[in-house]
């Protein structure tokens, strides 16, 4: 029923005008590119009817006669599965989603609100970059957004969803947030585009090669998740959110499901191959420990030698860090260290307990690793685990050698519970390497060095590379039957529920960046 009193008349007219902005051509322009519109994305992500838009009627700076409202970004709040969230969605249909002053102010406004009220913020990014016409003012706009990103970091979850281009300065806001989601074939992120690369370096590249979703999900690791289409990308955001608390004071949400224990947990003791040098898939181990179907892997295609992800254990959220023996034997290299370190810090920020599944033969040797500072990058993981005050449990499945053993949340690095399977091998180095060093002389003098080596290796395994030596010295709390891992870990996390660890007062530590 229309109210014709003057204040209401204008109210309705304005709303109608805003609505008429979203006509058929508005939708078709994006659809023709195989993309959804900002409006549709919000509809899809938020609970039906829950979205409230704010600052809908703003106009670009100095363009009071502009017919279109909003300045290329839709901002507001609403609920996702009943959870309050703030959101901003750049609208490529308006000046290519370019970031002007007003556009930036709108984003900053919801960022501030989210931080003040302690709710997650989600950014749907689809923008050509800074609005050239507005000059340095638009750059200042970016700066304001970055500032707010950093202030919110570790206080509220910030999720960036790249659904179109994100170029130049625009890439740094997503980079400062907790997670970056990308859509295959339609999203790109790069600091400089192919044209500039051609001009400066005379190199031919494509959008895909420079910053396609595939590249970022595999090579660079910039994208944490990659999806085949926009609907599934947004579903992914919803799923991720179901594991996260709304801020750093809350605990992650719990489920109340029953019948969640994985069946066939007895398979756990059969999963490890006959030969300790043979690979297996640690994701299978994870799925036999956590609640049925609850493992949500993050950065699955990047640094695959380490597996990270969120899961539920007895309905409670945990973070998982696991070496992946099927890729490079699970060796830790630069990428894996960075990937895991960042995840550990994320979990620590948001009160998510961490479960480490360890099978690591060591750090990756080699010139390229050393020259690219594996020392500093490996130290990141060390720092992250040592600093984390959330409950931390390690289960050593098989190999736990040398520096990599220390790093993977060992007892003296602050592991709250350290368990080991009977298949564990805890030592300074693997049998082959150790025997070569320890028995160099005997081996040189032996009549049958191969035979002697075999014997020495067997002795080493018997006496050193097993879980029992570490267990008897207290570096492992308990050697457990693989098939009871789930129960043991659930129990340990329950004990740790109220764990509090106080850290000294300081501005912040100096992580080896």
């Amino acid at each position: 029923m229309k109210d014709n009193r003057i204040p209401f008349k204008r109210f309705h007219e304005r709303n109608e005008r805003l609505l008429s902005q979203y006509d058929d051509t508005y939708f078709q322009r994006q659809h023709a590119k195989g993309k959804l519109t900002a409006r549709e994305r919000i509809e899809y992500l938020m609970d039906s009817g829950s979205f409230r838009e704010i600052d809908a009627f703003v106009k670009p700076l100095g363009k009071e006669d502009e017919k279109t409202y909003g300045d290329g970004v839709i901002v507001g709040y609403g609920t996702i599965n009943g959870r309050q969230v703030f959101i901003f969605a750049q609208d490529f249909n308006f000046m290519g989603g370019s970031l002007g002053v007003v556009h930036a102010q709108k984003i900053i406004k919801v960022q501030k609100m989210a931080l003040k009220m302690g709710h997650p913020i989600i950014g749907l990014i689809d923008s050509g970059g800074a609005r050239i016409q507005e000059g340095v003012a638009s750059l200042a706009g970016y700066a304001g957004i970055f500032m707010q990103n950093v202030k919110s970091s570790g206080v509220i979850p910030q999720i960036s969803v790249i659904m179109g281009p994100a170029a130049g300065g625009a890439v740094y806001s997503p980079a400062l947030t907790d997670f970056r989601f990308m859509t295959r074939d339609t999203s790109y992120m790069f600091v400089t585009g192919p044209e500039v690369v051609k001009e400066v370096l005379n190199e031919d590249t494509t959008f895909e090669e420079l910053g396609g979703a595939e590249v970022h999900a595999t090579e660079s690791g910039v994208a944490d998740m990659i999806f085949s289409d926009e609907e599934h990308t947004l579903m992914g955001v919803k799923k991720l959110l179901s594991y996260l608390p709304s801020n750093n004071v809350e605990n992650p949400p719990v489920r109340t499901l029953e019948d969640i224990a994985p069946s066939k947990t007895e398979k756990l003791s059969m999963l490890l191959p006959d030969d300790p040098n043979k690979p297996y898939d640690v994701v299978e181990v994870i799925n036999l420990i956590v609640d049925k179907g609850s493992f949500f892997e993050i950065a699955e295609n990047h640094a695959q030698n380490i597996v990270i992800g969120l899961a539920r254990l007895n309905n409670q959220v945990i973070g998982i860090v696991a070496n992946q023996p099927k890729i490079m034997a699970g060796t830790l290299d630069i990428d894996a260290s960075k990937k895991a370190a960042r995840f550990v810090r994320f979990c620590d920020s948001f009160n998510i307990p961490i479960l480490v599944l360890e099978d690591v033969p060591g750090f990756m040797p080699g010139k390229s690793q050393e020259q690219n500072a594996i020392i500093m990058h490996g130290a990141k993981l060390l720092y992250a685990f040592a600093e984390a005050s959330v409950p931390k449990i390690t289960v050593i499945l098989r190999k736990a050698y040398g520096g990599a053993y220390i790093v993977m949340n060992s007892k003296n690095m602050g592991g709250d519970f350290n368990f080991a399977w009977p298949t564990a091998e805890v030592a300074v180095m693997g049998p082959e390497g150790a025997v070569k060093i320890l028995n160099r002389k005997e081996l040189l003098e032996a009549d049958d060095p191969e035979e002697l080596k075999r014997k020495l290796i067997a002795d080493y395994k018997e006496n050193v590379a097993n879980p029992y030596v570490a267990d008897e010295k207290g570096y492992i709390d308990e050697v457990i039957d693989p098939s009871e891992t789930r129960e043991v870990v659930i129990n340990a996390f329950a004990l740790l529920e109220n764990k509090v660890e106080q850290s000294p007062t300081r501005k912040h530590g100096n992580i080896p960046l």
């Binding site: 599965n81 489920r255 398979k267 191959p273 030969d275 300790p276 109220n498």
Partner: protein, 496 residues
């Protein structure tokens, strides 16, 4: 020679098979416990288990020194190699002889002679047994290969001299393919047999593969136990065998059988063996090679003749004279062997390893199951993928096929993917049912490699869709509750 104990230098179903006969004959058996499969089923069937699991650097089944050393240490009278591994390695019988251990199998010389395809071929030629046109002597370079191929004419087949079991073989249909195929074949031969010498033979398109089981003693007595039809193969790996062959009539059977016996005679062969022939469209037979061991598919012959081939091997090894005369050996009914391998048929027969979660095989009078696995055992990648041999008999071929279908419908194996869906499909394929098939059966006659029930695709789609919808529902569920921070933690977290 007395044999009171046997070291079974093998694993899985064949180890169990050998142990069964040995037990019936009152012979004590020894088997190895290896680190590859410390919980293997076959260990339950040995009288004594020798634990070599500490030694993770050797494969005990291929280590002659270790076998000899073990036999001597435990004072074991004889070694049975089974099939694969060292079964056709002439050095094992030689070393056995040197150490006064009985080798249950042919002489080292016979293995040497017949294991070398070139020599075997020459032997056949000399004795008037038909062979395919081929290269004289071995070929070691592409140039030689090209020349020989020109003389014989394409298509040809490249065969590793030392090869066996379908390995190191390549078919070349035209000249341009030869260099690459030669490289592939020699590479494979080099890595598997450490000998990259090749033979070239005329390649018969779509032949049938028929082999004769022979038994011979050390006193010159030789008999054959009729044929087995092994044309259902994939990349020269047999998948299904039947005895007898639907392609032979009695006259032809007698003729080829006589040739099989002839070649054994010419080499003074003793023990059990198999002489393989190719049959072309016009039912001409050509000698291919001889396998100087017990074959995987030996049970179908046992089923139709009632002869225990392992028992005969042991008796011959003891020096006994064959009690069987050719005219006493009769065949009754029909037998089909299905090799249930842990392979993913849909993924091009890729190996599928892991825990056997369930293994239900029906109990039927017409079914013999030779298997080295049961539920709870693990298929490891270190050994072949044979999980079970289903040996099914019937009065006629039609009966046997009917029985196969019944068995297949009530057999369940879970945890690893198997070739069962393949066999279900074979049993539905007209050319197999009619008995008119060749070695190209899989490529040309099968519509697809696995059997699908009516509406199976629909059911799969529905189940997938339902799983997807459930996941979407889960994601959209607001069944999340807040978990309060405990006052204990709160009080400690908030400072000043």
């Amino acid at each position: 020679m007395k044999i009171n104990s046997i070291l079974i230098a093998n694993r899985g179903e064949i180890a169990i098979r050998i142990a069964r006969t040995a037990r019936e004959m009152g012979i004590k058996t020894y088997m190895f416990l290896s680190h590859h499969e410390p919980n293997a089923l076959h260990l339950d069937f040995a009288d004594e288990v020798i634990n070599v699991s500490d030694n993770t650097y050797i494969n005990v089944y291929t280590n002659i020194d270790k076998l000899i050393e073990t036999a001597l240490e435990y004072k074991i009278d004889a070694i049975h190699p089974g099939y694969g591994f060292l079964s056709e390695n002439p050095f094992l019988p030689r070393e056995c002889e040197r150490n006064n251990i009985v080798f249950i199998g042919p002489s080292s010389k016979a293995i040497d002679q017949m294991g070398n395809k070139g020599m075997a071929r020459d032997m056949a030629l000399k004795n008037g047994i038909p062979v395919l046109q081929g290269s004289e002597g071995v070929i070691t370079s592409v140039e030689e290969a090209e020349e020989t191929a020109k003389v014989i004419g394409y298509p040809i087949i490249l065969k590793a001299v030392a090869g066996g079991g379908g390995k190191g073989m390549r078919v070349v249909r035209k000249k341009s393919e030869l260099p690459l195929m030669f490289k592939l074949a020699t590479n494979e031969a080099k890595s598997l047999f450490d000998n990259d010498s090749m033979l070239i033979e005329k390649y018969v398109e779509n032949p049938r593969h028929v082999e004769f089981q022979v038994l011979a003693d050390k006193h010159g007595n030789i008999v054959h136990l009729y044929e087995r039809e092994c044309s259902i193969q994939r990349k020269h790996q047999k998948l299904l065998e039947e005895a007898p062959s639907a392609a032979l009539n009695d006259e032809l059977r007698a003729k080829i059988g006589a040739d099989a016996v002839k070649i054994c005679k010419a080499t003074n062969y003793y023990s059990a063996g198999t002489v393989e022939f190719l049959l072309d469209d016009d039912l001409n037979h050509y000698f291919m090679e001889m396998n100087t061991r017990v074959q995987v598919e030996h049970p179908i012959t046992e089923e139709i003749t009632g002869v225990d081939i392992i028992e005969q091997q042991i008796r011959v090894a003891r020096g006994e004279e064959l009690s069987l005369k050719q005219e006493d050996i009769t065949k009754n009914g029909w037998a089909i062997e299905l090799r249930v391998n842990a392979e993913d048929v849909q993924a091009g027969f890729a190996p599928s390893t892991g825990l056997v979660e369930q293994m239900d095989i029906p109990n039927k009078k017409y079914l013999r199951c030779d298997s080295g696995y049961q539920a709870g055992k693990v298929v490891v990648s270190s050994f072949d993928s044979l999980v079970a041999k289903l040996i099914i008999t019937g009065k006629t071929r039609g009966d046997a096929i009917k029985n196969c279908r019944t068995v297949l419908n009530s057999t369940t194996i879970k945890g690893v993917k198997t070739t069962l869906p393949f066999f279900k499909q074979v049993m539905q394929t007209p050319s197999f049912v009619k008995g008119k098939y060749t070695t190209s059966f899989i490529e040309t006659d099968l519509e697809q490699n696995y059997f699908q029930e009516d509406n199976e695709l629909m059911a799969a789609a529905v189940l997938a869709m339902q799983a997807y919808l459930t996941e979407q529902e889960n994601i959209n569920s607001d069944d999340l509750s807040r978990k309060q921070v405990s006052p204990w933690a709160m009080s400690k977290k908030i400072k000043g």
